[in-house]
Subunit: 215 residues, 2 copies
């Protein structure tokens, strides 16, 4: 029986709430109905934080004597604990694994700089912005026909869908899926799952509780 503890920040300001990456892990845990607890770490990124997450980010997951950072690594680990998250046959695992990397290293590599620049108000007429904008557009152009032809990336819903739809959800929140209807439908399909709703509400409640503790 897995003994799972998820660590996220104990508090963040309003704008990132609902988008902090612990959401991906909460979502997977809810899909699999695995029991877990959530703990908060202060924002000062001290030595103990860096021992678990060397880049000073969240989340990390403790499973018994394993401490795992990187949402991709955590979700592949959880995939091995539940067939609701990843099939156990080699072909099925291979399909899921390549789409997990595609979500993070082909799409999010383009979408995260894009989203940050949009959010910071730097989406304007400079060559650097144009490069970032084109980079995302070409990735969405390739993803669109894939998602137009299938409900989920690897046959049935899996951890790759949690990652890909969470990556695209952030782009959508900044208006970036206006010309990608299949991507937008996919985000709607994924985020209408009860496990997403629970994970999202739980993240908002976690930070709201910290507001009260600070006031």
């Amino acid at each position: 029986m897995a003994d799972l503890t998820l660590t996220t920040f104990e508090w963040v300001p309003e704008p990132p709430r609902g988008f902090v990456r612990d959401l991906r892990v909460r979502w997977a845990l809810e899909e699999a109905a695995l029991p877990y607890r959530v703990v908060g770490v202060p924002g000062d990124r001290g030595p103990e934080h860096l021992a678990h997450q060397p880049f000073g980010q969240v989340p990390w997951l403790i499973d018994g004597d394993l401490s795992i950072f990187e949402s991709g690594a955590i979700l592949l680990h959880l995939g091995e604990l539940s067939a609701k998250l990843m099939p156990s046959d080699p072909r099925g695992r291979s399909e899921v694994t390549k789409w997990v990397f595609a979500a993070l290293n082909s799409v999010e590599m383009a979408s995260l700089p894009w989203t940050m620049l949009k959010f910071m108000g730097h989406a304007n007429d400079t060559p650097a912005w144009k490069f970032v904008d084109d980079f995302l557009k070409i990735r969405l152009k390739h993803l669109e026909p894939v998602l137009a032809k299938r409900e989920w990336l690897a046959g049935s819903f899996c951890v790759a869908d949690i990652l890909m739809s969470d990556v695209l959800r952030v782009v959508d929140s900044q208006g970036g899926l206006a010309h990608s209807p299949a991507c937008r439908d996919y985000v709607a399909r994924a985020t209408s799952r009860p496990a997403f709703a629970k994970a999202h509400a739980d993240q908002l409640a976690h930070f709201a509780a910290a507001d009260k503790a600070r006031s």
Copy 2:
């Protein structure tokens, strides 16, 4: 016995030679001494290419009836074929997996836009460039003390080192490791391995042979 075929572009222009991502796969295959063949795909990104690599990129790897894209997914797959690339115990695999994702989703997510903008001559005084530059700097700031304290990321040399050192090698080629001596030493340590030299020479020879066929 694995039956491995690596696909890369049949030809690319001079600048990316030595940096095309099939190098990561060649390097892993050479480290593990696994037999493989290399085939070339034209640059027009036709339907058969997109069936194997939906983003029109390279490489992909065929292993029997599996077709795998994303260098991270390919290297984890090869890691399961050879203890020279990844230990087989759960703790060892977990360590390697998290550093594989860290290389691609924490470091390369920052370094690839940085390198592209540098290469394109857009590393200048705009807020968008400043964001990209700061993004890479903070990731290197966190990685530097990790690499100052260990020879390899996860105990002994593994697929995560192939990915991380290849990601950093590109940054180094654009002068981006000037203030990161431990990162620079790590790149030198990794690229002094005979398997890297063989993989690098083979990639250059592959594209040079295509030059001759075109002339």
